[in-house]
Symmetry: C2
Subunit: 316 residues, 2 copies
């Protein structure tokens, strides 16, 4: 096996580091040989080089200094080696052109850039990592390379991304996952001793209804119902967690529906690219307001994006 067909892909976001040992096979298909996880950008606490070295140490021992591709919040101003933001509209095939290369413990690392766009209210928005996942999704599903589609990439920060003919036109961020995490673990809403338990989709849908179907402001004034519905014994603490998730995701989806940057009518198809659990939550909320959607797996999209860039580079 030529080492040139092996590489390491690192998706290093705010909350998680995910390192993948990848092998490229015939017809440029990718086989995932192994995965190792580590702390996200916040928890790594500026100790980035050592964190990465520790995470991939066993692979280095076996395969030597493989090339590394790295994407996500780690390339931002609060991360390691900062890369630029490319201005939308942009075709994500060009990501490598603005990558920043550097050496780390004998590995050559290529850190990918982020993207930015200006919204209709004059604010601008940014993302890092999702543009690679979008590239991967489009390469695996070329039928989506024509026409307009709205992508939803849920995670710590949900990204809603308008694509036209394979180009990223603009996008909006909602801090839904981060808010959930803070409110679930550090607010008065959920008891500290709340048991783990199966996600209650019925309670989730109740939460969605509160924010999806109501006047403006229900996130500000409605979120306290997570507590009052426990006081009234309508919800157990475990159910309340799912209900809280519904309140937040409902608000996120409602805002996306009303975003002036795109027309999210009932016949618009939304493509949700996330984990199985988040895909189910977002499609449930979108279906509640009559929006059709299809789901794709985020890890598959991520690996497809890295694979495309590795093959592009190898052919140079």
């Amino acid at each position: 096996m030529a080492t040139s067909s092996l590489f390491i892909a690192v998706d290093w976001g705010t909350s998680h580091l995910r390192a993948y040992l990848c092998e490229v096979r015939a017809q440029s298909t990718l086989k995932l040989l192994a995965q190792r996880d580590g702390p996200g950008v916040v928890k790594a606490n500026q100790n980035f080089e050592q964190t990465l070295i520790d995470t991939i140490a066993v692979w280095k021992q076996e395969y030597g200094s493989l090339p590394i591709y790295i994407a996500g919040q780690i390339t931002s101003s609060i991360g390691w080696h900062e890369t630029p933001y490319l201005e939308c509209p942009i075709n994500p095939e060009g990501l490598l052109n603005a990558a920043v290369s550097f050496d780390c413990d004998g590995h050559i690392i290529k850190a990918l850039p982020g993207t930015k766009c200006t919204l209709q209210n004059g604010l601008f928005d940014v993302m890092r990592g999702e543009e690679l996942q979008i590239l991967g999704f489009l390469k695996q599903n070329p039928e989506y390379q024509q026409g307009k589609i709205l992508l939803c990439l849920p995670g710590t920060h949900t990204k809603w991304v308008l694509i036209n003919n394979g180009e990223i036109i603009c996008f909006k961020t909602a801090m839904t996952g981060e808010l959930y995490d803070l409110l679930c673990h550090q607010s008065v809403l959920i008891p500290n001793d709340c048991a783990e338990g199966e996600f209650d989709f019925k309670a989730f849908e109740q939460g969605c209804e509160l924010t999806l179907g109501s006047d403006s402001g229900n996130l500000a004034h409605g979120i306290f119902s997570v507590r009052t519905r426990q006081l009234s014994k309508e919800l157990t603490p475990v159910q309340a967690k799912a209900y809280l998730s519904g309140v937040l995701i409902g608000s996120d989806v409602r805002a996306a529906r009303h975003a002036s940057e795109w027309q999210l009518l009932s016949d618009t198809q939304v493509v949700v690219i996330g984990t199985k659990q988040l895909n189910k939550c977002f499609t449930t909320a979108l279906n509640q307001i009559g929006v059709k959607c299809v789901e794709f797996d985020i890890k598959t999209a991520t690996l497809s994006g890295f694979n495309y860039l590795f093959n592009l580079e190898s052919k140079k």
Copy 2:
């Protein structure tokens, strides 16, 4: 000095314990002799009895076992001795009728009840402590005991309270202060090493504008601008904190304006009862949408409420 004219008032909320040594003088007026602060309900971590004993130890040494009145989140299900929720509409003069008495280290403690109400969407809401502050405000400002007024009590949780002829009709809670605290100290929005600095009212007003003047959903999709406006160097981290406060308070005020439970037209007067800083923030936001408001001091209202109940009891 007869010890019967001395008592201890304890306002023990989610975030702060505030104990006041009070002396009642001629015409039932109150003099605050001393104040001692301690940890709120969350930080006291179930160690309530010892926390209170420690906080008031110096007063016990000097004056013996004074009577204690206690109000706030400490009387809730996540607190110490739980008291009931009285159903609105309610006249807060009757609070003592549902107080729970118990002994603590030789002191007789009277723990005051909370109140609850059912909102138009079928959800119910609760408060503890604010009904005492409302009582105190109304006793000090009898001109507000006639007709309808809307009160705003900002804090960890903002309470918007509709009063009619001195009765609490209904109210709504927004977790604005708690959200600010979580997002300011534990999210990606504000850098960990952000300096303390003077509150920037211009940045605050910018934040308000984003959520006050815009379509629904701007809290979900707009809050990320706290970060992007730092990336674009429009805001320093210190300014970004004030901007974040504006985004949250603007959203809170917008939801209050549109609440179906009351008519908040431009000629409605809102009474804001809070600390000097929060009063300025909320009146600024309310003025931005053309709502007239007057400000009162929350500590004065709290002490007036305790004083009224102590005198009521003494006359029995």
